[in-house]
């Protein structure tokens, strides 16, 4: 399994998101290497198709498909919860659902 974790340092949500990802992986007993990559420039964001920080992809699939097509840029990413609320990081359920 390939897990990518892309983040922009200026957005503070990446630390909580990484902790959440690790927690979900541990809970599911998944031992996988997380490919962590810092996105530093607009050019990086463009080439990586980075819609905002943090972005988590599992086997190439974004944990939030709805937000994956946003214009690549250095920004904090908007995640929407099922009840319509906005969050700066994906929910536990979104990460769990993206795992095989």
């Amino acid at each position: 399994m390939r897990i990518e974790f892309l983040y922009w340092e200026s957005c503070p949500s990446h630390q909580d998101a990484r902790a959440l990802l690790d927690d979900v992986l541990a809970e599911r007993g998944i031992e996988a290497t997380v490919d962590v990559r810092e996105v530093r420039t607009d050019a990086d964001a463009e080439s990586l198709g980075f819609p905002g920080s943090p972005t988590i992809r599992i086997d190439g699939r974004d944990v939030d498909a709805a937000g994956a097509s946003a214009t690549p840029t250095l920004t904090c990413r908007v995640y929407r919860r099922p009840d319509g609320r906005v969050s700066p990081l994906p929910s536990r359920e979104q990460i769990e659902a993206a795992l095989p």
Partner: protein
């Protein structure tokens, strides 16, 4: 550098989403002025937005005015353009002035760094609280309501119990 506690509010005159210009002088008779750096695109702002509306609603009868200012570079972040601000204010029912700092000079004068970031001024327009609205962007996890506590203290003639907390949010997008 961020405005230090005890500093006087730097003046401003900025266009608002209501079509009028708004200056610091306009609020000179209010007992407490809450200036919040804000924008459209930031998920932290969006998560706190409803609480901003509730704050203005709950403290209006005590004369408190809340003013949100967007200083972001709209060339790189078009979601924060003035037209987009007007649209968001309508859609979200903003009951406070939402001002556009197009040349970023006001943001620099206050030393704003994050969105949202609160600067609370007392009647003399002295900075008495700076930082976050409360301690969690997730409303259900809030355990400390910093700004409400500070406003309550001001209304009672006391100093805010906490004068400074770290603002949590997106960075202000400078050119």
């Amino acid at each position: 550098m961020t405005l230090p506690l005890g500093a006087e509010a730097p003046p401003f005159e900025l266009p608002g989403v209501d079509g009028g210009n708004h200056s610091l002088e306009e609020y000179s008779d209010v007992p407490a002025l809450v200036v919040i750096w804000s924008c459209n695109h930031c998920p932290y702002v969006q998560a706190w937005e409803e609480r901003m509306v509730e704050l203005q609603r709950d403290y209006a009868d005590r004369g408190v005015r809340l003013v949100a200012i967007n200083s972001n570079d709209v060339d790189r972040y078009p979601a924060d353009s003035f037209e987009a601000m007007q649209k968001r204010a309508r859609e979200r029912g903003f009951n406070f002035d939402y001002l556009f700092d197009g040349d970023q000079s006001v943001g620099r004068a206050y030393g704003a760094e994050r969105t949202p970031e609160v600067f609370l001024f007392d009647r003399a327009r002295t900075l008495v609280y700076h930082g976050a609205i409360d301690d969690s962007y997730e409303e259900e996890n809030v355990s400390a309501r910093y700004l409400r506590d500070a406003l309550d203290a001001l209304a009672d003639g006391r100093e805010p119990p906490l004068a400074e907390t770290p603002p949590v949010g997106c960075t202000v997008k400078w050119r």
